[in-house]
């Protein structure tokens, strides 16, 4: 009986702890889209694949592996041919675009900070987009946002995990929705069309 009471107490106290270490291992669905006939190389640097966000001294969020999976799915929905490479010497010479994603910052907001009954997570990405000859096209800032429906009875770790998964899904949605609306990409695309037509 005492053991059960002790266990219950530990569970309650764990729920009250202010630190959280979260590792995201959720699988993301594949995207429904019509990719454009573009060959792209996505440079996944080691720092991106193993990224662990530290929004504050008590919280760590390991999103490295899951964000790589998410971007693999999303980029495959944008381009007909996608190579995921880990270094520049693996670049396919026929590549049209080289994209290097990186995480600028991860932010977390808890109910005690936002005075709302929700946990919120922001992931700020940067996509460095270049042509095959390394001419920069643009640096695209891509923020993603996720929040829990509410924080009722949720442990801090579970709530942050839930909000992070929603933020990662939002990153995929943002990429699919807005990539071809980036003015520099739009401009680059129209120049590719002109090139193809003049051939």
């Amino acid at each position: 009986m005492k053991k059960i009471a002790g266990l219950v107490l530990i569970v309650f106290l764990a729920g009250c702890s202010s630190s959280a270490s979260v590792k995201i291992s959720t699988a993301f669905p594949s995207v429904v889209s019509e990719p454009k006939p573009i060959i792209a190389s996505i440079l996944i640097e080691d720092s991106f694949a193993t990224y662990v966000g530290k929004p504050n001294k008590n919280t760590t969020i390991d999103i490295g592996a899951s964000q790589v999976n998410l971007l693999k799915s999303a980029f495959s929905g944008l381009f007909e041919t996608v190579d995921f490479i880990t270094s520049l010497d693996q670049i396919n010479p026929e590549t049209d675009l080289i994209i290097t994603p990186s995480v600028l910052e991860v932010q977390v907001s808890t109910p005690s900070e936002n005075y709302l009954n929700v946990f919120e997570v922001w992931i700020k990405y940067n996509l460095e987009i270049e042509t095959v000859d390394r001419t920069p096209i643009t640096n695209w800032f891509m923020p993603a946002y996720g929040k829990t429906p509410d924080s009722f009875m949720a442990s801090k770790e579970n709530a942050i995990e839930q909000a992070t998964v929603i933020a990662l899904r939002d990153a995929g949605a943002k990429l699919m929705l807005d990539f071809y609306r980036i003015p520099a990409i739009n401009d680059w695309l129209s120049r590719q069309d002109i090139k193809q037509e003049s051939r």
């Binding site: 993301f28 429906p149 949605a173």
Partner: protein
């Protein structure tokens, strides 16, 4: 006239319990009285709106309404299965807020093919929330070596407002709208042990909306 204590207690209990029922109003708009006919293969998906900043339609409510509608032989595709199958076009950022955007989405052959493969004919958007609108009273509880207890009285009002919009994914038109308003007061009486007298406002809203929505559809 002499009132017997048992009758008095029963009367008091009835008054208290009748105070715990929710008042629910349903408004309905549809262009025709005829039900929407589904063939045996066609399904309906019920989705919650989650694009507002200060609230989001909770999944528990969606599940509750889905269960009500399913009990009428209408096939319902679970919300998350639909959202995953059509990712990322029904995420909070990308979900169509109006018919013009839905029409543009359905022009994409890959999205149309997915909707057809899932046999989804109608999409029902649910938008709303349940909120505590007012509270009063006070209750204090204490515990000591000889035991514990609560003394006092507390009450709170809850209001559920939900709106359902039915979209036809084949004809790309709106087939009808429903709005449910449900309100009620819950009480907590502290007489040594706390006695909750809860008004199931959200449950009432779900039952009313679910039953009304069920009457929208008929299966061939």
């Amino acid at each position: 006239m002499k009132i017997r204590p048992l009758n008095f207690q029963l009367g008091l209990l009835l008054i208290i319990l009748s105070g715990c029922s929710a008042t629910t109003t349903i408004d309905e708009y549809r262009p025709t009285d005829q039900p929407i006919v589904l063939n045996s293969d066609e399904k309906v998906v019920i989705l919650g709106r989650r694009d507002a900043g200060h609230y989001e339609t909770d999944r528990e409510f969606i599940e509750c309404v889905s269960k009500k509608v399913t009990s009428g032989a209408v096939k319902i595709l679970p919300e998350q299965r639909f959202i995953d199958a059509i990712y990322p076009w029904f995420e909070p950022r990308t979900a169509p807020k109006g018919l013009p955007r839905l029409k543009r989405l359905m022009q994409q052959s890959s999205i149309k093919a997915k909707v057809d493969a899932l046999s989804i004919r109608y999409l029902v958007w649910l938008d709303g929330s349940t909120e505590t609108t007012g509270q009063g009273g006070s209750m204090s509880c204490a515990i000591g070596p000889g035991g514990g207890g609560c003394l006092g009285f507390a009450q709170w009002d809850k209001l559920s407002v939900y709106e359902a919009t039915v979209w036809d994914l084949d004809e790309l038109v709106e087939k009808g709208r429903l709005r449910v308003d449900s309100e009620g007061t819950s009480y907590l009486i502290g007489a040594v042990a706390p006695i909750p007298l809860l008004t199931p406002v959200k449950n009432d809203a779900c039952n009313s909306l679910g039953n009304q929505l069920k009457s929208f559809f008929s299966v061939e």
